[in-house]
Symmetry: C2
Subunit: 202 residues, 2 copies
């Protein structure tokens, strides 16, 4: 009965299935069976809907990272689990990733927020890399620059696996998550020590 929540739910559904540029506030209102005037009573500007959905996504990620930071020591299994949860969350809000550049142009607040977030995440990744090296899971014989590049790779892969899926396979739901979580695992494989590689092959 909460109209505001309903607007967000319906908008998410429509944006995910039809894209952020083809869906207007009138479409959302029509799908809900409410008037455009009513929708704009709750969200003066349509972009506020997008911004709110982005904030939900960002909050979800923060929760995942907080959880991860509580676990000590980090193992390959916890990393794998974190990976799958991240993919699931991203899939739920997939329209944001499918139209990331568009949205960041349209809602500058999102661009700013995302930039700050990547800065934070970068540091967190290096801490985790350090833990995994100390645990004998990650190799210690690669130059530092290789690990720096890996962080960028992780960001690009994390932000755009959904776009790749949209352009090629178009796998849905759990199928997509399964497929791309394998690719994420494979991505780390060459960085593992031989013993960790052997354990992963089981």
């Amino acid at each position: 009965m909460d109209t505001r929540t309903n607007i967000l739910r319906t908008a998410l559904e429509l944006y995910n299935s039809q894209g952020v540029n083809t869906i207007t506030s009138r479409h959302i209102a029509a799908k809900m069976g409410i008037s455009p005037g009513n929708l704009h009573y709750h969200f003066r500007q349509t972009d506020e809907i997008i911004k709110t959905l982005y904030e939900q996504l960002a909050a979800g990620f923060d929760d995942l990272v907080s959880e991860l930071e509580l676990i000590n020591p980090v193992t390959l299994d916890t990393l794998q689990d974190f990976s799958v949860r991240s993919l699931e969350l991203a899939y739920k809000y997939r329209f944001i990733f499918l139209h990331f550049v568009e949205i960041s142009l349209r809602v500058p607040a999102i661009r700013k927020d995302y930039y700050a977030l990547t800065q934070r995440r970068e540091k967190e990744f290096f801490i985790i890399f350090g833990q995994l090296k100390a645990a004998g899971i990650f190799r210690t014989d690669f130059p530092e620059s290789i690990w720096e590049s890996l962080v960028t790779q992780i960001f690009i892969m994390g932000d755009f696996w959904l776009s790749n899926n949209e352009l090629t396979g178009k796998l849905r739901g759990s199928q997509a998550i399964k497929h791309y979580s394998k690719i994420f695992s494979a991505m780390f494989y060459p960085y593992l020590t031989p013993s960790a590689q052997a354990r992963m092959a089981e």
Copy 2:
């Protein structure tokens, strides 16, 4: 003096700098100082402009790949060279990559064409991987599934490094190409044999 060519040139410039959704046929005509009617005489539908620019990009890539296939044997240097040329070409037509999902929704012909292209490229990559393994440059002790995942990684990185740059660094021109070609090199580093790694470190 060739109006058609001029439209394509101006459209590319505007799409690259302002995005594909904010620029309309009227903007392009205004920037050129011609009438909207004239523009639509040359391109009945605005999407034909986008499609033509995509075809120019695809043709450019085909040329690069053809060149690469003539070189035998493939070394790390030729691969590095191919990588830089690919990045340069992508940068020239960057609006396509920055709005890839949008465009593929808007111009279905592009989606189809891209899908066929990835299928072809996938095979070509496996051939090159084989050559590099035979030459003692790539490792031969990784499971086959790791190489399959690497191909997907290459596609995602190749298609979306520009989006990552847009969202974070916003490096321009040769600076962006330099930065991301390093990341591409680093991406292959863990897949190299120790001797190839040593040679690369120089």
